[in-house]
Protein backbone atom coordinates (compact mmCIF):
# COMPACT_ATOMS: atom_id res chain seq x y z
CA UNK A 1 0.00 0.00 0.00
CA UNK A 2 1.52 3.23 -1.16
CA UNK A 3 2.42 5.83 1.39
CA UNK A 4 0.06 4.76 4.14
CA UNK A 5 0.86 5.64 7.72
CA UNK A 6 0.81 2.57 9.96
CA UNK A 7 -2.76 1.62 10.85
CA UNK A 8 -3.48 2.57 14.46
CA UNK A 9 -4.53 -0.28 16.77
CA UNK A 10 -8.06 1.13 17.04
CA UNK A 11 -8.61 0.46 13.33
CA UNK A 12 -6.94 -2.88 12.94
CA UNK A 13 -10.00 -5.05 13.42
CA UNK A 14 -11.88 -6.49 10.45
CA UNK A 15 -14.90 -4.20 10.96
CA UNK A 16 -14.10 -0.69 9.89
CA UNK A 17 -17.48 0.94 10.33
CA UNK A 18 -20.33 -0.23 12.54
CA UNK A 19 -23.44 1.94 12.50
CA UNK A 20 -26.19 1.01 14.95
CA UNK A 21 -29.71 2.45 15.17
CA UNK A 22 -28.64 5.75 13.75
CA UNK A 23 -31.34 8.42 13.55
CA UNK A 24 -31.42 12.03 12.50
CA UNK A 25 -34.55 14.07 13.03
CA UNK A 26 -35.03 17.74 12.20
CA UNK A 27 -37.68 19.96 13.73
CA UNK A 28 -39.89 21.48 11.06
CA UNK A 29 -40.08 25.26 11.05
CA UNK A 30 -38.81 27.52 13.77
CA UNK A 31 -39.45 26.64 17.36
CA UNK A 32 -41.78 29.37 18.50
CA UNK A 33 -41.33 30.70 22.00
CA UNK A 34 -45.01 30.65 22.52
CA UNK A 35 -46.12 27.61 20.61
CA UNK A 36 -46.04 25.18 23.50
CA UNK A 37 -46.64 22.16 21.31
CA UNK A 38 -43.73 19.94 20.30
CA UNK A 39 -42.71 20.80 16.74
CA UNK A 40 -43.20 18.34 13.90
CA UNK A 41 -40.09 16.33 13.13
CA UNK A 42 -38.71 15.30 9.75
CA UNK A 43 -37.32 11.79 10.07
CA UNK A 44 -34.45 12.08 7.62
CA UNK A 45 -32.64 8.96 8.83
CA UNK A 46 -34.52 6.49 10.98
CA UNK A 47 -32.98 3.63 12.92
CA UNK A 48 -30.31 2.76 10.32
CA UNK A 49 -27.83 0.00 11.05
CA UNK A 50 -25.10 -1.16 8.70
CA UNK A 51 -21.54 -2.43 8.72
CA UNK A 52 -18.54 -1.98 6.48
CA UNK A 53 -15.64 -4.41 6.59
CA UNK A 54 -12.06 -3.43 5.82
CA UNK A 55 -11.45 -3.33 2.08
CA UNK A 56 -15.14 -3.64 1.27
CA UNK A 57 -17.14 -1.42 -1.07
CA UNK A 58 -20.67 -0.78 0.14
CA UNK A 59 -23.26 0.70 -2.18
CA UNK A 60 -26.01 2.99 -0.95
CA UNK A 61 -29.06 3.45 -3.18
CA UNK A 62 -32.51 4.96 -2.93
CA UNK A 63 -34.68 7.70 -4.38
CA UNK A 64 -34.36 11.36 -3.53
CA UNK A 65 -35.69 11.86 -0.05
CA UNK A 66 -34.63 8.41 1.13
CA UNK A 67 -32.09 9.87 3.51
CA UNK A 68 -28.89 8.79 1.82
CA UNK A 69 -27.55 12.35 1.67
CA UNK A 70 -28.21 12.82 5.37
CA UNK A 71 -26.68 9.43 6.14
CA UNK A 72 -23.58 10.47 4.22
CA UNK A 73 -23.34 13.68 6.23
CA UNK A 74 -23.64 11.67 9.43
CA UNK A 75 -20.97 9.17 8.40
CA UNK A 76 -18.56 11.91 7.37
CA UNK A 77 -19.36 13.75 10.62
CA UNK A 78 -20.55 16.94 9.01
CA UNK A 79 -23.63 16.74 11.19
CA UNK A 80 -24.51 15.10 14.50
CA UNK A 81 -26.97 12.22 14.91
CA UNK A 82 -30.05 12.61 17.05
CA UNK A 83 -29.60 9.10 18.45
CA UNK A 84 -27.56 6.02 17.64
CA UNK A 85 -23.92 5.09 17.32
CA UNK A 86 -21.21 5.32 14.68
CA UNK A 87 -18.28 3.12 15.55
CA UNK A 88 -15.16 3.65 13.49
CA UNK A 89 -12.86 0.81 14.45
CA UNK A 90 -13.18 0.79 18.20
CA UNK A 91 -13.93 4.49 18.55
CA UNK A 92 -17.40 5.89 19.08
CA UNK A 93 -17.54 8.85 16.69
CA UNK A 94 -20.97 10.10 17.66
CA UNK A 95 -19.50 11.14 21.00
CA UNK A 96 -17.50 13.87 19.27
CA UNK A 97 -19.57 16.85 18.11
CA UNK A 98 -19.31 17.60 14.40
CA UNK A 99 -17.93 21.07 15.15
CA UNK A 100 -14.94 19.58 16.93
CA UNK A 101 -14.31 16.69 14.61
CA UNK A 102 -12.29 18.88 12.25
CA UNK A 103 -9.40 18.75 14.68
CA UNK A 104 -9.72 15.04 15.46
CA UNK A 105 -6.97 12.66 14.27
CA UNK A 106 -9.65 10.47 12.70
CA UNK A 107 -10.79 13.32 10.45
CA UNK A 108 -8.07 12.40 7.97
CA UNK A 109 -9.21 8.81 7.95
CA UNK A 110 -12.69 9.53 6.62
CA UNK A 111 -12.76 11.55 3.39
CA UNK A 112 -15.31 12.33 0.70
CA UNK A 113 -15.51 12.54 -3.07
CA UNK A 114 -18.39 14.83 -3.95
CA UNK A 115 -20.93 14.62 -6.72
CA UNK A 116 -20.21 17.83 -8.52
CA UNK A 117 -16.48 18.32 -8.53
CA UNK A 118 -16.98 21.79 -9.96
CA UNK A 119 -19.09 22.84 -6.99
CA UNK A 120 -16.94 21.14 -4.39
CA UNK A 121 -13.66 22.77 -5.39
CA UNK A 122 -13.24 26.38 -4.29
CA UNK A 123 -13.44 28.42 -7.51
CA UNK A 124 -10.54 30.57 -6.35
CA UNK A 125 -8.25 27.62 -5.70
CA UNK A 126 -6.10 25.98 -8.34
CA UNK A 127 -6.16 22.20 -8.62
CA UNK A 128 -2.89 22.12 -6.66
CA UNK A 129 -4.36 24.32 -3.90
CA UNK A 130 -7.40 22.08 -3.65
CA UNK A 131 -5.36 18.89 -3.36
CA UNK A 132 -2.91 20.50 -0.93
CA UNK A 133 -5.54 21.93 1.41
CA UNK A 134 -6.32 18.77 3.42
CA UNK A 135 -2.63 17.84 3.57
CA UNK A 136 -1.71 21.27 4.83
CA UNK A 137 -4.54 21.36 7.36
CA UNK A 138 -4.45 17.87 8.76
CA UNK A 139 -0.92 16.69 8.18
CA UNK A 140 0.78 20.02 8.62
CA UNK A 141 2.76 19.59 5.44
CA UNK A 142 4.47 22.53 3.77
CA UNK A 143 6.95 23.47 1.10
CA UNK A 144 8.66 20.88 -1.04
CA UNK A 145 7.24 17.90 0.85
CA UNK A 146 3.74 19.21 0.28
CA UNK A 147 4.33 19.80 -3.40
CA UNK A 148 5.66 16.28 -3.80
CA UNK A 149 2.67 14.77 -2.07
CA UNK A 150 0.32 16.79 -4.26
CA UNK A 151 2.08 15.60 -7.39
CA UNK A 152 2.03 12.02 -6.17
CA UNK A 153 -1.72 12.20 -5.60
CA UNK A 154 -2.19 13.74 -9.05
CA UNK A 155 -0.14 10.97 -10.66
CA UNK A 156 -2.07 8.27 -8.84
CA UNK A 157 -5.28 9.77 -10.20
CA UNK A 158 -4.11 10.13 -13.76
CA UNK A 159 -4.13 13.92 -13.63
CA UNK A 160 -1.40 15.43 -15.84
CA UNK A 161 0.90 17.58 -13.71
CA UNK A 162 0.61 20.59 -16.00
CA UNK A 163 -3.08 20.85 -15.08
CA UNK A 164 -2.28 21.44 -11.43
CA UNK A 165 -2.06 25.20 -11.89
CA UNK A 166 -5.47 25.50 -13.52
CA UNK A 167 -8.67 26.66 -11.94
CA UNK A 168 -11.76 24.41 -11.87
CA UNK A 169 -13.52 26.30 -14.63
CA UNK A 170 -10.54 25.67 -16.88
CA UNK A 171 -10.76 21.89 -16.49
CA UNK A 172 -13.02 19.36 -18.17
CA UNK A 173 -15.57 17.37 -16.17
CA UNK A 174 -13.36 14.31 -16.05
CA UNK A 175 -10.30 16.31 -15.01
CA UNK A 176 -12.27 17.96 -12.22
CA UNK A 177 -13.43 14.56 -11.02
CA UNK A 178 -9.79 13.45 -10.84
CA UNK A 179 -8.88 16.53 -8.80
CA UNK A 180 -11.69 15.72 -6.37
CA UNK A 181 -10.41 12.16 -6.01
CA UNK A 182 -6.78 13.22 -5.65
CA UNK A 183 -7.80 15.63 -2.90
CA UNK A 184 -9.66 12.88 -1.08
CA UNK A 185 -6.92 10.25 -1.22
CA UNK A 186 -4.03 12.59 -0.40
CA UNK A 187 -4.42 12.10 3.36
CA UNK A 188 -4.63 8.31 2.79
CA UNK A 189 -8.02 7.79 4.40
CA UNK A 190 -9.24 4.37 5.54
CA UNK A 191 -12.81 5.17 4.53
CA UNK A 192 -13.79 7.06 1.40
CA UNK A 193 -17.40 8.11 0.95
CA UNK A 194 -18.22 8.74 -2.72
CA UNK A 195 -21.42 10.69 -3.25
CA UNK A 196 -22.52 10.18 -6.88
CA UNK A 197 -18.98 10.79 -8.16
CA UNK A 198 -19.80 10.09 -11.80
CA UNK A 199 -23.33 11.46 -12.04
CA UNK A 200 -22.30 14.56 -13.97
CA UNK A 201 -19.91 12.78 -16.35
CA UNK A 202 -20.33 11.49 -19.87
CA UNK A 203 -20.52 7.73 -20.08
CA UNK A 204 -17.07 7.22 -21.59
CA UNK A 205 -15.43 9.44 -18.98
CA UNK A 206 -17.35 7.54 -16.32
CA UNK A 207 -15.64 4.33 -17.38
CA UNK A 208 -12.18 5.79 -16.80
CA UNK A 209 -13.14 7.22 -13.42
CA UNK A 210 -14.66 3.93 -12.27
CA UNK A 211 -11.52 2.10 -13.38
CA UNK A 212 -9.45 4.63 -11.43
CA UNK A 213 -11.53 4.06 -8.31
CA UNK A 214 -11.03 0.31 -8.58
CA UNK A 215 -7.27 0.61 -9.00
CA UNK A 216 -7.02 3.05 -6.09
CA UNK A 217 -8.88 0.83 -3.69
CA UNK A 218 -6.54 -2.01 -4.53
CA UNK A 219 -3.30 -0.06 -4.29
CA UNK A 220 -4.24 2.08 -1.30
CA UNK A 221 -6.41 -0.37 0.61
CA UNK A 222 -9.33 2.03 1.03
CA UNK A 223 -12.86 0.94 1.90
CA UNK A 224 -15.63 2.69 -0.04
CA UNK A 225 -19.16 3.77 0.66
CA UNK A 226 -20.53 4.42 -2.83
CA UNK A 227 -23.75 6.39 -3.15
CA UNK A 228 -25.43 6.38 -6.53
CA UNK A 229 -28.78 6.55 -8.23
CA UNK A 230 -27.41 4.43 -11.08
CA UNK A 231 -27.99 0.81 -10.12
CA UNK A 232 -25.90 -0.53 -12.99
CA UNK A 233 -22.85 1.35 -11.78
CA UNK A 234 -23.42 0.24 -8.19
CA UNK A 235 -23.58 -3.32 -9.37
CA UNK A 236 -20.23 -2.99 -11.12
CA UNK A 237 -18.35 -1.46 -8.26
CA UNK A 238 -19.88 -2.63 -5.00
CA UNK A 239 -19.57 -5.82 -2.98
CA UNK A 240 -22.69 -5.21 -0.94
CA UNK A 241 -25.51 -2.74 -1.27
CA UNK A 242 -27.90 -1.03 1.17
CA UNK A 243 -31.29 0.07 -0.16
CA UNK A 244 -32.97 2.91 1.68
CA UNK A 245 -36.53 4.20 1.59
CA UNK A 246 -37.85 7.20 3.52
CA UNK A 247 -35.00 7.14 5.99
CA UNK A 248 -35.02 3.41 6.72
CA UNK A 249 -33.00 0.50 5.44
CA UNK A 250 -35.27 -1.84 3.49
CA UNK A 251 -32.78 -4.29 2.06
CA UNK A 252 -29.10 -5.26 2.39
CA UNK A 253 -27.07 -7.88 0.60
CA UNK A 254 -24.43 -8.72 -2.00
CA UNK A 255 -24.95 -6.31 -4.89
CA UNK A 256 -25.57 -8.83 -7.63
CA UNK A 257 -27.89 -10.94 -5.53
CA UNK A 258 -29.96 -7.92 -4.51
CA UNK A 259 -30.36 -6.65 -8.05
CA UNK A 260 -30.88 -10.02 -9.71
CA UNK A 261 -33.29 -11.27 -7.09
CA UNK A 262 -34.66 -8.51 -4.89
CA UNK A 263 -36.40 -9.55 -1.68
CA UNK A 264 -38.14 -6.28 -0.87
CA UNK A 265 -41.00 -5.00 -3.07
CA UNK A 266 -39.43 -1.55 -3.24
CA UNK A 267 -36.13 -2.95 -4.48
CA UNK A 268 -38.08 -4.95 -7.05
CA UNK A 269 -39.83 -1.81 -8.27
CA UNK A 270 -36.56 0.12 -8.33
CA UNK A 271 -34.77 -2.52 -10.36
CA UNK A 272 -37.74 -2.86 -12.72
CA UNK A 273 -37.68 0.87 -13.45
CA UNK A 274 -34.09 0.90 -14.74
CA UNK A 275 -34.11 1.11 -18.56
CA UNK A 276 -32.80 -2.07 -20.12
CA UNK A 277 -31.19 -2.77 -23.46
CA UNK A 278 -32.89 -6.10 -23.84
CA UNK A 279 -36.28 -4.40 -23.95
CA UNK A 280 -37.79 -6.48 -21.19
CA UNK A 281 -40.10 -4.48 -19.03
CA UNK A 282 -42.37 -5.63 -16.26
CA UNK A 283 -45.12 -3.04 -16.08
CA UNK A 284 -46.71 -4.89 -13.19
CA UNK A 285 -43.80 -3.74 -11.08
CA UNK A 286 -44.26 -0.07 -12.01
CA UNK A 287 -44.17 2.07 -8.88
CA UNK A 288 -46.51 4.98 -9.31
CA UNK A 289 -47.18 7.73 -6.84
CA UNK A 290 -44.76 9.50 -4.55
CA UNK A 291 -43.26 8.41 -1.25
CA UNK A 292 -45.17 9.35 1.87
CA UNK A 293 -44.18 12.39 3.87
CA UNK A 294 -41.11 12.02 6.11
CA UNK A 295 -42.74 14.34 8.65
CA UNK A 296 -43.92 12.57 11.82
CA UNK A 297 -44.33 9.19 10.12
CA UNK A 298 -46.45 6.56 11.75
CA UNK A 299 -44.00 4.46 13.77
CA UNK A 300 -46.19 1.40 13.46
CA UNK A 301 -46.69 1.34 9.72
CA UNK A 302 -44.31 0.20 7.04
CA UNK A 303 -43.10 3.30 5.21
CA UNK A 304 -43.77 1.70 1.86
CA UNK A 305 -47.35 0.76 2.68
CA UNK A 306 -49.77 2.45 0.30
CA UNK A 307 -47.36 2.52 -2.58
CA UNK A 308 -46.43 -1.14 -2.30
CA UNK A 309 -47.97 -3.54 -4.83
CA UNK A 310 -48.10 -6.16 -2.08
CA UNK A 311 -49.73 -4.82 1.01
CA UNK A 312 -52.21 -6.01 3.55
CA UNK A 313 -53.65 -4.61 6.74
CA UNK A 314 -50.75 -5.94 8.76
CA UNK A 315 -48.38 -3.63 6.88
CA UNK A 316 -50.22 -0.63 8.27
CA UNK A 317 -50.12 -1.73 11.88
CA UNK A 318 -46.78 -3.49 12.28
CA UNK A 319 -43.46 -2.02 11.18
CA UNK A 320 -41.49 -4.84 9.54
CA UNK A 321 -38.12 -5.50 11.14
CA UNK A 322 -34.96 -6.00 9.11
CA UNK A 323 -34.81 -9.80 9.03
CA UNK A 324 -31.78 -11.84 8.13
CA UNK A 325 -31.77 -14.35 5.28
CA UNK A 326 -29.23 -16.74 3.83
CA UNK A 327 -26.22 -15.42 1.96
CA UNK A 328 -25.76 -12.32 4.11
CA UNK A 329 -29.05 -10.82 2.95
CA UNK A 330 -31.52 -8.77 4.97
CA UNK A 331 -34.92 -7.34 4.12
CA UNK A 332 -37.53 -5.38 6.05
CA UNK A 333 -40.76 -6.83 4.73
CA UNK A 334 -43.31 -9.19 6.21
CA UNK A 335 -43.48 -11.08 2.95
CA UNK A 336 -39.82 -11.40 2.00
CA UNK A 337 -38.62 -14.92 1.49
CA UNK A 338 -34.92 -15.51 1.04
Amino acid sequence: MIGNDPVPPALQGPMLLDVAELSKRFPLGKKGFFSGRTPSMVHAVDDVSLTLARGETLGLVGESGCGKSTLVRLLTRLTDPTTGSIRFGTRELSAIPARDFARDPDRARIQTVFQDAGESINPRFTAADAIADPLRQMKGMTGVALRQKVEEAARLCGLPLELLNRFPHQLSGGQRARVGIARAIGPRPDLLVLDEPTAALDVSVQVTILQLLVSLRESLGISYVFVSHDLNVVRLLCDRVVVMYLGRVVEVGPARAVFDNPLHPYTRGLVAAVPRFDGLRDDALRLVGDPKSPIDPDPNACRFHGRCPVGVARCGTEMPALRKFAGGREAACHFAEG
Partner: protein, 282 residues
Protein backbone atom coordinates in the same frame (compact mmCIF):
# COMPACT_ATOMS: atom_id res chain seq x y z
CA UNK B 1 -3.71 38.43 -10.55
CA UNK B 2 -3.37 35.42 -12.75
CA UNK B 3 -2.53 35.55 -16.44
CA UNK B 4 -6.13 35.23 -17.48
CA UNK B 5 -7.13 38.19 -15.31
CA UNK B 6 -4.48 40.38 -16.95
CA UNK B 7 -5.57 39.30 -20.39
CA UNK B 8 -9.19 39.98 -19.52
CA UNK B 9 -8.28 43.36 -18.00
CA UNK B 10 -6.47 44.35 -21.19
CA UNK B 11 -9.48 43.26 -23.19
CA UNK B 12 -11.92 45.27 -21.07
CA UNK B 13 -9.78 48.39 -21.34
CA UNK B 14 -9.42 47.99 -25.07
CA UNK B 15 -13.16 47.40 -25.49
CA UNK B 16 -14.08 50.37 -23.38
CA UNK B 17 -11.86 53.44 -23.85
CA UNK B 18 -13.66 55.27 -21.10
CA UNK B 19 -12.28 52.81 -18.59
CA UNK B 20 -8.82 53.36 -20.00
CA UNK B 21 -9.31 57.08 -19.64
CA UNK B 22 -10.46 56.66 -16.03
CA UNK B 23 -7.44 54.50 -15.35
CA UNK B 24 -5.17 57.20 -16.72
CA UNK B 25 -6.84 59.84 -14.59
CA UNK B 26 -6.54 57.60 -11.56
CA UNK B 27 -2.81 57.24 -12.09
CA UNK B 28 -2.56 61.01 -12.46
CA UNK B 29 -4.38 61.58 -9.17
CA UNK B 30 -2.26 59.05 -7.34
CA UNK B 31 0.90 60.68 -8.64
CA UNK B 32 -0.45 64.08 -7.61
CA UNK B 33 -1.18 62.72 -4.15
CA UNK B 34 2.30 61.28 -3.77
CA UNK B 35 4.39 64.01 -5.36
CA UNK B 36 2.07 67.00 -5.12
CA UNK B 37 3.63 68.75 -2.15
CA UNK B 38 7.11 68.57 -3.65
CA UNK B 39 5.95 69.72 -7.08
CA UNK B 40 3.80 72.62 -5.98
CA UNK B 41 5.24 75.87 -7.39
CA UNK B 42 4.23 77.85 -4.32
CA UNK B 43 3.87 77.14 -0.63
CA UNK B 44 0.13 76.42 -0.27
CA UNK B 45 0.01 78.24 3.04
CA UNK B 46 2.02 81.27 2.00
CA UNK B 47 -0.25 84.27 1.85
CA UNK B 48 0.47 87.48 0.02
CA UNK B 49 -2.33 89.96 0.35
CA UNK B 50 -0.85 92.14 -2.37
CA UNK B 51 -1.61 89.45 -4.91
CA UNK B 52 -5.02 88.52 -3.56
CA UNK B 53 -7.82 87.51 -5.95
CA UNK B 54 -5.70 87.51 -9.10
CA UNK B 55 -7.37 85.74 -12.03
CA UNK B 56 -5.59 82.77 -13.66
CA UNK B 57 -2.36 83.81 -15.34
CA UNK B 58 0.98 82.44 -16.40
CA UNK B 59 2.38 82.77 -12.88
CA UNK B 60 -0.71 81.50 -11.10
CA UNK B 61 -2.40 78.90 -13.29
CA UNK B 62 -5.52 78.78 -11.21
CA UNK B 63 -5.28 82.34 -9.88
CA UNK B 64 -4.98 83.32 -6.24
CA UNK B 65 -7.48 83.33 -3.40
CA UNK B 66 -8.59 86.07 -1.03
CA UNK B 67 -5.34 86.13 0.94
CA UNK B 68 -3.06 85.68 -2.05
CA UNK B 69 -2.36 81.94 -1.85
CA UNK B 70 -1.73 80.15 -5.12
CA UNK B 71 -4.82 78.12 -5.83
CA UNK B 72 -3.06 75.61 -8.10
CA UNK B 73 -0.60 74.69 -5.38
CA UNK B 74 -3.40 74.37 -2.87
CA UNK B 75 -5.49 72.16 -5.16
CA UNK B 76 -2.47 69.99 -5.91
CA UNK B 77 -1.47 69.58 -2.27
CA UNK B 78 -5.07 68.94 -1.23
CA UNK B 79 -5.09 65.86 -3.44
CA UNK B 80 -3.07 63.95 -0.89
CA UNK B 81 -5.42 64.84 1.92
CA UNK B 82 -8.66 64.17 0.12
CA UNK B 83 -7.52 60.94 -1.44
CA UNK B 84 -5.89 59.88 1.77
CA UNK B 85 -9.03 60.40 3.82
CA UNK B 86 -11.10 58.55 1.24
CA UNK B 87 -8.65 55.65 0.99
CA UNK B 88 -8.35 55.30 4.75
CA UNK B 89 -12.08 55.28 5.30
CA UNK B 90 -12.68 52.80 2.49
CA UNK B 91 -10.00 50.50 3.87
CA UNK B 92 -11.51 50.73 7.35
CA UNK B 93 -15.06 50.03 6.26
CA UNK B 94 -13.91 47.21 3.99
CA UNK B 95 -12.20 45.47 6.88
CA UNK B 96 -14.88 46.11 9.48
CA UNK B 97 -17.94 45.78 7.26
CA UNK B 98 -16.53 42.85 5.35
CA UNK B 99 -15.73 40.91 8.50
CA UNK B 100 -19.08 41.75 10.09
CA UNK B 101 -20.89 40.60 6.96
CA UNK B 102 -18.89 37.38 6.81
CA UNK B 103 -19.59 36.32 10.36
CA UNK B 104 -23.19 37.42 10.33
CA UNK B 105 -23.85 35.56 7.06
CA UNK B 106 -21.98 32.45 8.04
CA UNK B 107 -22.95 31.93 11.66
CA UNK B 108 -26.37 33.57 11.76
CA UNK B 109 -27.95 33.46 15.17
CA UNK B 110 -27.41 36.24 17.68
CA UNK B 111 -24.32 37.55 15.87
CA UNK B 112 -26.46 38.19 12.81
CA UNK B 113 -29.16 39.73 14.99
CA UNK B 114 -26.82 42.16 16.75
CA UNK B 115 -25.00 43.24 13.61
CA UNK B 116 -28.32 43.59 11.85
CA UNK B 117 -29.63 45.92 14.50
CA UNK B 118 -26.47 48.01 14.40
CA UNK B 119 -26.75 48.47 10.65
CA UNK B 120 -30.46 49.20 10.94
CA UNK B 121 -29.69 51.94 13.47
CA UNK B 122 -27.13 53.51 11.18
CA UNK B 123 -29.48 53.35 8.22
CA UNK B 124 -32.24 55.07 10.18
CA UNK B 125 -30.39 58.36 9.78
CA UNK B 126 -29.79 60.40 6.66
CA UNK B 127 -26.21 59.34 6.22
CA UNK B 128 -24.59 62.70 5.68
CA UNK B 129 -26.39 64.13 8.69
CA UNK B 130 -25.07 61.20 10.72
CA UNK B 131 -21.53 61.95 9.53
CA UNK B 132 -22.00 65.54 10.56
CA UNK B 133 -23.22 64.48 13.97
CA UNK B 134 -20.30 62.12 14.55
CA UNK B 135 -17.72 64.71 13.59
CA UNK B 136 -19.46 67.41 15.58
CA UNK B 137 -19.53 65.17 18.64
CA UNK B 138 -15.99 63.83 18.39
CA UNK B 139 -14.22 66.86 17.01
CA UNK B 140 -12.96 68.12 13.65
CA UNK B 141 -9.93 65.93 13.18
CA UNK B 142 -8.91 63.91 10.15
CA UNK B 143 -9.19 60.56 12.00
CA UNK B 144 -12.73 61.46 13.00
CA UNK B 145 -13.66 62.29 9.43
CA UNK B 146 -12.27 58.92 8.39
CA UNK B 147 -14.27 57.22 11.14
CA UNK B 148 -17.49 59.04 10.29
CA UNK B 149 -17.20 58.15 6.60
CA UNK B 150 -16.50 54.54 7.46
CA UNK B 151 -19.47 54.35 9.80
CA UNK B 152 -21.98 55.68 7.30
CA UNK B 153 -20.78 53.16 4.68
CA UNK B 154 -20.73 50.26 7.13
CA UNK B 155 -24.30 48.99 6.42
CA UNK B 156 -23.65 48.79 2.69
CA UNK B 157 -20.55 46.66 3.09
CA UNK B 158 -22.13 44.43 5.69
CA UNK B 159 -25.12 43.86 3.45
CA UNK B 160 -23.01 42.96 0.42
CA UNK B 161 -20.62 40.72 2.33
CA UNK B 162 -23.47 39.01 4.13
CA UNK B 163 -25.45 38.32 0.94
CA UNK B 164 -22.40 36.86 -0.79
CA UNK B 165 -21.58 34.75 2.25
CA UNK B 166 -25.08 33.36 2.62
CA UNK B 167 -25.01 32.33 -1.03
CA UNK B 168 -21.86 30.31 -0.48
CA UNK B 169 -22.53 28.98 2.99
CA UNK B 170 -23.93 25.68 1.75
CA UNK B 171 -21.60 25.30 -1.22
CA UNK B 172 -19.88 21.99 -1.86
CA UNK B 173 -16.47 23.44 -1.27
CA UNK B 174 -17.46 24.55 2.22
CA UNK B 175 -18.29 20.94 3.13
CA UNK B 176 -15.08 19.86 1.45
CA UNK B 177 -13.13 22.29 3.61
CA UNK B 178 -14.69 20.88 6.78
CA UNK B 179 -13.73 17.42 5.67
CA UNK B 180 -10.23 18.70 5.05
CA UNK B 181 -10.00 19.58 8.71
CA UNK B 182 -10.90 23.26 8.77
CA UNK B 183 -12.96 24.51 11.66
CA UNK B 184 -15.69 27.12 11.25
CA UNK B 185 -13.50 30.23 11.42
CA UNK B 186 -10.96 28.59 9.17
CA UNK B 187 -13.61 27.75 6.61
CA UNK B 188 -14.89 31.31 6.74
CA UNK B 189 -11.53 32.97 6.28
CA UNK B 190 -9.76 30.55 3.92
CA UNK B 191 -12.67 29.45 1.76
CA UNK B 192 -15.54 31.91 1.80
CA UNK B 193 -13.69 35.20 2.17
CA UNK B 194 -11.57 34.85 -1.00
CA UNK B 195 -14.76 34.26 -2.94
CA UNK B 196 -16.48 37.42 -1.79
CA UNK B 197 -13.33 39.49 -2.37
CA UNK B 198 -14.03 40.46 -5.99
CA UNK B 199 -17.41 42.00 -5.24
CA UNK B 200 -15.97 43.78 -2.23
CA UNK B 201 -13.15 45.24 -4.27
CA UNK B 202 -15.64 46.55 -6.80
CA UNK B 203 -17.58 48.15 -3.99
CA UNK B 204 -14.44 49.76 -2.65
CA UNK B 205 -13.68 51.51 -5.90
CA UNK B 206 -17.25 52.66 -6.19
CA UNK B 207 -17.20 53.97 -2.60
CA UNK B 208 -13.98 55.95 -3.09
CA UNK B 209 -15.79 58.60 -5.08
CA UNK B 210 -18.49 58.93 -2.47
CA UNK B 211 -15.94 59.05 0.34
CA UNK B 212 -14.10 61.95 -1.29
CA UNK B 213 -17.39 63.75 -1.69
CA UNK B 214 -18.24 63.09 1.93
CA UNK B 215 -14.98 64.49 3.23
CA UNK B 216 -15.28 67.53 0.99
CA UNK B 217 -18.90 67.99 1.98
CA UNK B 218 -18.11 67.95 5.69
CA UNK B 219 -15.32 70.44 5.18
CA UNK B 220 -17.58 72.62 3.06
CA UNK B 221 -19.96 73.14 5.96
CA UNK B 222 -17.14 73.63 8.38
CA UNK B 223 -17.31 70.29 10.11
CA UNK B 224 -14.32 68.74 8.45
CA UNK B 225 -10.76 69.73 7.93
CA UNK B 226 -10.07 73.18 9.30
CA UNK B 227 -8.53 76.17 7.57
CA UNK B 228 -5.80 76.95 6.60
CA UNK B 229 -5.20 73.29 5.57
CA UNK B 230 -5.78 73.02 1.84
CA UNK B 231 -8.69 70.74 1.08
CA UNK B 232 -11.04 70.83 -1.89
CA UNK B 233 -14.23 71.21 0.12
CA UNK B 234 -12.95 74.10 2.25
CA UNK B 235 -11.67 75.81 -0.84
CA UNK B 236 -15.04 75.60 -2.53
CA UNK B 237 -16.68 76.97 0.61
CA UNK B 238 -14.24 79.87 0.81
CA UNK B 239 -14.59 80.59 -2.87
CA UNK B 240 -18.38 80.45 -2.87
CA UNK B 241 -18.74 83.94 -1.47
CA UNK B 242 -16.61 85.36 -4.28
CA UNK B 243 -18.59 84.03 -7.20
CA UNK B 244 -21.16 86.77 -7.01
CA UNK B 245 -18.47 89.42 -7.13
CA UNK B 246 -16.97 87.87 -10.25
CA UNK B 247 -13.92 86.02 -8.88
CA UNK B 248 -15.11 82.69 -10.23
CA UNK B 249 -11.74 80.92 -10.13
CA UNK B 250 -11.51 80.65 -6.38
CA UNK B 251 -14.36 78.11 -6.18
CA UNK B 252 -14.30 76.68 -9.69
CA UNK B 253 -10.92 75.03 -9.78
CA UNK B 254 -11.17 73.11 -6.52
CA UNK B 255 -14.80 72.26 -7.39
CA UNK B 256 -13.90 71.01 -10.84
CA UNK B 257 -11.02 68.95 -9.49
CA UNK B 258 -13.36 67.44 -6.92
CA UNK B 259 -15.89 66.60 -9.59
CA UNK B 260 -13.29 65.04 -11.89
CA UNK B 261 -11.86 62.96 -9.07
CA UNK B 262 -15.25 61.57 -8.08
CA UNK B 263 -16.13 60.96 -11.72
CA UNK B 264 -12.82 59.17 -12.24
CA UNK B 265 -13.41 56.82 -9.32
CA UNK B 266 -16.95 56.05 -10.39
CA UNK B 267 -15.80 55.16 -13.89
CA UNK B 268 -12.96 53.14 -12.45
CA UNK B 269 -15.40 51.27 -10.24
CA UNK B 270 -17.47 50.29 -13.27
CA UNK B 271 -14.33 49.15 -15.07
CA UNK B 272 -13.12 47.11 -12.12
CA UNK B 273 -16.50 45.45 -11.92
CA UNK B 274 -16.27 44.48 -15.58
CA UNK B 275 -12.84 42.97 -15.02
CA UNK B 276 -13.75 41.16 -11.86
CA UNK B 277 -17.29 39.99 -12.58
CA UNK B 278 -16.91 36.31 -13.45
CA UNK B 279 -19.97 36.35 -15.66
CA UNK B 280 -18.03 38.43 -18.09
CA UNK B 281 -15.33 35.82 -18.45
CA UNK B 282 -15.36 33.35 -21.33
Amino acid sequence: MSDSTFAHARHVVSENPVTGFALGLFVFFVLAAIFGPSLAPYDPLASNTMRALQPPSAQHWFGTDQIGRDIFSRVLVATRLDLGIAAASVALVFAAGGFAGLVSGFFGGWVDLVIGRITDTIMAFPLFVLAMAIVAALGNTVPNIVLATAIINFPLYVRIARAETVQRREAGFVDAARIAGHRDMGVLLTQVAPNIMPIMVVQMSLTMGYAILNAAGLSFIGLGVRAPTPEWGIMVAEGASFIVSGEWWVALFPGATLMIAVFCFNLLGDGVRDIVDPRRRT
